[in-house]
Amino acid sequence: MNKFQQSLKLSLDFFNSHVLKKSSLKYLGASLIFSLLIIFILSPKFLISTTLLENTSNSDTQKIDGVGGLLQSLSGGVGNTNFEKFKSRLESTAVAKRLWDEGWGKRVFAPGSDYPLDGIPKSHSMGSRLSALLLGYELNDTLTHHDMKQFAKNSVGLNKVGRSSKIVAQMKSGDPEFAKEFLDALIYIADSEAKIGEIVLTKSRIASLKEGLADSKNAIVTSGLSNLLNSAYFSLVTLESDQPYFVIIVDKANSSETPISPNIFLIIFANLVTFLSLSAFISYFRANKEQIW
């Protein structure tokens, strides 16, 4: 018998003696019961997503010359600006505070309860209680906008698709209607908060440009400053309108038709593999215990 034939024989022996045997059926049955138990205790979750486009036309990134400029274009640095600004705002305390003030705290943490907005009780883990006791600081008894910030950060994913200007915001939730409203509100508030900062910056730019224009005695400089002033005023008008500035909403939040989690077939299949391997493992060790130990 040559080496190949011997390996083939050993392989067949392995499957016949340790995998495809009667006792494996017991393990497969146990895996099905285990999977069903898991599926019963899980609640369905839907995928809520919204499609946005990054507004690159109002980006204010400065162009760099030479090697730096090459890098900037390679990395798509110019196009990243508004996305980065928007993403930072989405996860900011200011946005969380506005959401909280608009009553989202109650809808997220205590739906249908009678608690006042600033009186929603907060539960703490044993670990954080112990830390507070040992280090001597007070734990908040009620939820605040900081918890809202954490909720938004943990549950909403904001991703740019490749190098395009397409942005997808997604979240998982058992209550799709609530999640759709929340996602739309979050995006709108994040954009308007980012606009507030931008308006202050643009107004200060306008003031400086006006001063520069008043002092200028050179025709070329005056013309350049006038152009900049025009564009700053245009930005200000756009910023002060009700429409989103940093992103363009292409598709408002919508929910998947069926729950995306739990994936029943994946759970059953994963457990089948685990239990079948366990069966083979036990059988193999029983058959070869003297050699292996």
Binding site: S7, L10, S11, D13, F14, H18, V19, I38, L42, K45, L47, S49, T51, T61, Q62, I64, V67, G68, L70, L71, Q72, L74, S75, G76, G77, V78, N80, T81, E84, N154, G157, N159, V161, G162, R163, V168, Q170, K172, D251, S256, I260, S261, P262, N263, L266, I267, F269, A270, N271, V273, T274, L276, S277, L278, A280, F281, Y284, Q291, I292
Partner: protein, 397 residues
């Protein structure tokens, strides 16, 4: 979260994560048992791999957050998208932007795994690749099983082949290429060099220099040719100074940008104020490189340690250097001509990387991509030449 059509669910925060990943682990154990049955691995190796296949379960979410190695998302999404028969980035292929993500995803998607549901799943795919590599290594002539086990137990090798990264697809092919060349086998070189060209151009370049030195100049057979090669290499460095420095400066700046707060985007916004130390001439490059090599050898240095991973990596770098010296002394490699082109390309790689060091985490990875293949190649050269001299002595006596 890939795009609006992908039912990608990050199970990292739920116990479903363990259900899926334990099934991957169980599948790997089945693989180990099977290879033991067909006598590809010994009983000692069986226990070793039963333990080592569990490492992907320890790193992500337990020892550190998966965001510490953020590129795991790229390869996982690439494989998930392929599973749905889609492209992660429309139009991406083997050339241009995203070619690394595309090829790494393509290769990893062919590794049989029951479930690719979390960021850890591809860690098991990488472990399977490492396991196959171990079997190959342990069955090489003159290579003992013990040595193969020790090499596969190097902490960085375990770390990078337990995460959903492309490192296994760089380190392992580079090692196979070097050993195959020493053995005079060329098929693996033809297969893996194009892979490295896409996945890690720097490693491809260093291997190309090694092939120019050995195939064209025959430096592995003649010391005179080795000296001529060095002269030619330095002559080329000076002759093409402008182009070479342009590339080095571009990469230096690229690593500055990558290390910038908020990465390239942050650099695009505020990078103009950065005082960039540009390399002016070849001599300046050589001096800077010589000064930087000791730093690169030992990073992360004690005064930059943050967390437990850093001292482990520092101690490992000290240990690897000691192992390198031990291998050279133990097998008297300085009297073996083939050692010189290997050491030259190793030095050239370190010299170039020392000019680029900015981000410690990145360069600890880059360093290991060079140290691991070159160290195993030197070891193989040592054991094979020791065996050959033993045979020669036997024949002469």
């Amino acid at each position: 979260m890939v795009n609006e059509f992908a039912a990608w669910v990050d199970y990292g925060d739920s116990y479903l994560y363990y259900i899926f990943e334990i099934s991957n682990y169980a599948w790997c154990i089945l693989l180990v048992l099977f290879t033991h049955q067909i006598q590809l691995i010994s009983t000692r190796a069986l226990w070793y791999w039963v333990a080592l296949f569990s490492t992907p379960l320890l790193f992500n979410y337990i020892i550190f957050s998966p965001t510490l190695y953020g590129d795991q998302y790229i390869y996982t999404f690439e494989v998930v998208e392929r599973a749905f028969g889609r492209e992660r980035i429309p139009g991406s292929n083997l050339a241009g932007y995203n070619s690394t993500g595309y090829l790494a995803g393509l290769i990893l998607s062919y590794i049989p795994l029951p479930v690719v549901a979390t960021l850890t799943s591809l860690g098991f795919a990488n472990r399977i690749i490492a396991f196959v590599f171990y079997i190959w290594l342990s069955r090489l002539p003159y290579f003992t099983e013990k040595a193969a086990l020790i090499f596969c137990a190097i902490p960085s090798f375990i770390l990078y082949t337990s995460l959903s990264l492309r490192e296994a697809l760089i380190i392992i092919p580079a090692t196979v290429i070097l050993i195959s060349h020493i053995r005079g086998k060329y098929l693996p070189i033809l297969i893996f060099m194009p892979v490295l060209y896409i996945l890690k151009f720097q490693v491809f370049t260093f291997l190309t220099i090694y092939f120019i030195a050995t195939v064209l100049f025959r430096t592995h057979q003649s010391m005179i040719m080795f000296i001529i090669f060095i002269f030619v290499a330095f002559f080329c460095l000076f002759a093409f100074e402008t182009r070479v420095l342009e590339i080095i400066n571009l990469y230096r700046l690229a690593f500055v940008a990558e290390d910038f707060a908020d990465g390239y985007a942050g650099f695009g916004l505020y990078g103009m104020e950065y005082d960039f130390d540009e390399i002016a001439n070849t001599l300046d490059a050589i001096i800077k490189s010589l000064k930087g090599i000791p730093t690169l050898l030992f990073i992360p240095l004690p005064w930059n340690w943050q967390g437990l991973l850093y001292p482990i990596q520092f101690l490992e770098s000290v240990g690897l250097l000691a192992a390198f010296i031990w291998i050279i002394r133990r097998y008297s490699l300085l009297s073996v001509q083939h050692t010189y082109p290997l050491l030259f390309t190793f030095g050239a790689a370190f010299g170039l990387y020392s000019l680029l060091v900015q981000n410690e985490g990145t360069f600890v990875r880059y360093r290991f991509e060079i140290v691991f293949p070159w160290m195993i190649a030197l070891y193989y050269l040592g054991v094979s030449s020791a065996h050959q001299s033993k045979e020669l002595n036997k024949d002469s006596s």
